[in-house]
Symmetry: C2
Subunit: 386 residues, 2 copies
């Protein structure tokens, strides 16, 4: 039993429940973490008495026995379930829990209503895990997990280099970037990034390459021709296709002179990034780190969500988030966020946005250590490509 699952046993003891139940497919990071299994359809995982039990369909049985982290793997046929409907499926779940020997379970808050209600109707005591114990466990990485994130980060850097070299090789024609005789578009840069990711064992379909006013919306993926002198935000957050761990990095570039306003924004953003990284240490809160970034911006006269909760320009998001089996997970670096501890892996990603100016964001990935933090990102910060 690993360190992490010992902590899960304590959560169950504190809650006075017999087992921890997840009903989800592998895309749910808690399911992947607890089961170690990439079943494409929803399956049950129960952790009880120091052991992990899986219930899968016959199609998944051999693979689950071979590749999952579970101590016990059972299959639907053991419960004579094959073509049954909802009620028969819930009967099977209740019988499986009986075999595991649990009468009461905790389920994650976002677990399925039908399973919770159906098990309650069958006499199982189902409570919501309000502490979100598995997500909290996932927030503290082992050295092996940090290494998996590092590997994904190396792929991310290779992809960013491919993007930067496209920008550096571009010519300017009437204000538009041109490469190999064609307008250089967000789509073309994104393709170069994602192909490079694939060649490094990672995948992403959500990469952001956004210039001009598009860069002012932090969630706009970007489309169409890129222009000289505008800021171009490139945010790459791929998943390693083998380990399933994510990395995350953002750089902002401008080809040709971006003007004084964007230059000031970029300098302030690097300053905010540095202040936030300096604030990261065990015992500091996510709020401390966020405030460190906000203060740099506010001192320079930029609005932040802290100074004006209604603002739509300035620093309109939090300073960062955990990264692991999910690209967004605890800890958060925002107001009211709790204490950091060694093994947390978080992004630090301050930025400024205004549709009339553009967007600037710079993002590094750090791991909290015993006495501060270590930056996992190894990529230069160059704004203007002349």
């Amino acid at each position: 039993m690993t360190r992490e699952l010992t902590a899960l046993a304590e959560t169950l003891a504190d809650a006075g429940r017999d087992g921890y139940l997840i009903d989800a497919d592998w895309e749910d990071p808690n399911q992947l973490y607890l089961s170690g299994f990439t079943g494409p359809d929803p399956f049950l995982t129960v952790y009880a008495d120091g052991r992990t039990h899986l219930l899968v369909s016959g199609l998944e049985y051999a693979r689950a026995k071979r590749s999952s982290r579970a101590d016990v793997v059972r299959r639907h046929a053991e419960y004579d379930f094959q073509y049954g409907g909802r009620e028969e499926r819930l009967d099977m779940y209740a019988a499986f829990l009986d075999d595991v020997g649990v009468e009461s379970v905790l389920m994650p808050a976002r677990g399925p209503i039908e399973t919770a209600d159906g098990l309650r109707e069958r006499g199982i005591d189902v409570a919501i895990d309000r502490e979100d114990a598995l997500t909290a466990l996932r927030a503290v990485k082992t050295d092996a997990e940090v290494d998996r994130i590092r590997a994904a980060q190396r792929a991310t850097e290779a992809a960013m280099a491919a993007a930067e070299s496209l920008l550096a090789d571009a010519d300017v024609d009437d204000g538009t970037l041109v490469h190999d005789g064609e307008p250089l578009t967000s789509e073309r840069v994104r393709e170069a990034i994602e192909v490079t990711l694939l060649r490094h064992g990672c995948a992403s379909a959500e990469t952001i390459v956004a210039g001009g006013a598009q860069a002012a919306d932090p969630h706009d993926r970007g489309s169409g021709p890129l222009a000289a002198g505008e800021s171009i935000v490139i945010d790459v957050f791929p998943r390693d296709t083998e380990t399933k761990y994510f990395a995350d990095m953002t750089r902002t570039f401008a080809v040709g002179d971006p003007g004084d306003t964007l230059r000031e924004w970029y300098d302030r953003t690097l300053e905010a990034l540095e202040a936030a990284v300096d604030a990261v240490e065990p015992g500091a809160t996510g709020e401390d780190v966020h405030v460190a970034a906000c203060e740099v911006y506010e001192d320079a006269g930029h609005p932040t969500l802290r100074s004006d909760p209604e603002t739509e320009t300035g620093f309109v998001h939090s300073t960062g988030h955990g990264v692991g089996l999910a690209v967004h997970e605890p800890p958060r670096l925002s107001m009211d966020a709790g204490e950091l501890e060694p093994g947390n892996v978080v992004t630090i990603e301050p930025g400024l946005y205004d549709p009339d100016v553009g967007g600037v964001r710079v993002e590094d990935l750090v791991v909290v250590t015993e006495d501060g933090c270590e930056t996992l990102t190894d990529y230069p910060k160059r704004f203007v490509i002349d």
Copy 2:
């Protein structure tokens, strides 16, 4: 109001509920279908009185107003919610439902327990949508949706061609396939497929390229060197990154002589595919189509899940599934599956498996028409590459 949402209104009327509530991020296909919005964090969508209402964070507000399918978009700040915890969030949800004017809702069976329990505590009547109305709506595609699937299918075919040409160009060295002086591995063929998909506007990180005994497990993605004479199953099911619709196709190849057993399996599989496609028409059930495929195999002496529910060799899965905003969705082509109707898009993918022999699967995609079906797949079926 579109045809589909009229049907959702009927579901609500039948259930005697005011609204249909989804709490999910865009990766939930029902959320994507109803909201038309790709919010990366969970958000609320309520359909009531012929109108769709969204509740999103401030960060998503502008993009939701611009790009979602909703009639009304509200943001957290309207409810003074910014840094609140679970209870404050549930209070906001209840206030939002009050603004929409609903006191009772249907939620999908896999909606989050916490939202259901929390709204019940706040006096909202929450019932599970046991009919799975939105998923049922999604199963019947409009012509525009079929066109999006066709576009993804064209990308899939380009990717399969890239894979097939790698196999065709390979040399054999001591039984192993060799390309450009390196062993040709599952990983290398998968990379060629996924790079081609990206260049055609699609993405996938789960492509199957599995040879030998690996091909005998329908969910094994495959790894390591590919060998001459073994069957190599290639299953490509990418998502269009813009429209979010999937396609799905499988071909099986052998480089050099696969021997009589695999040749017989391949012929039987084409026969089963043809029999199943012939059975597809409005009014036929998914079971009819599945039985058509099973009968071909059973008549030739191969076990199927129909003839032996415990079998681990032979035809060990169903004949197919719907494809749309999810890669697996209704209708199912399996025992107890209901009637097909025009606009259903389904895979037809019979196969045979035995670790001692290998695996064979061939998969086309068809759309049910008024009087039969149209095959959306335009790719040859060649088993042996000499």
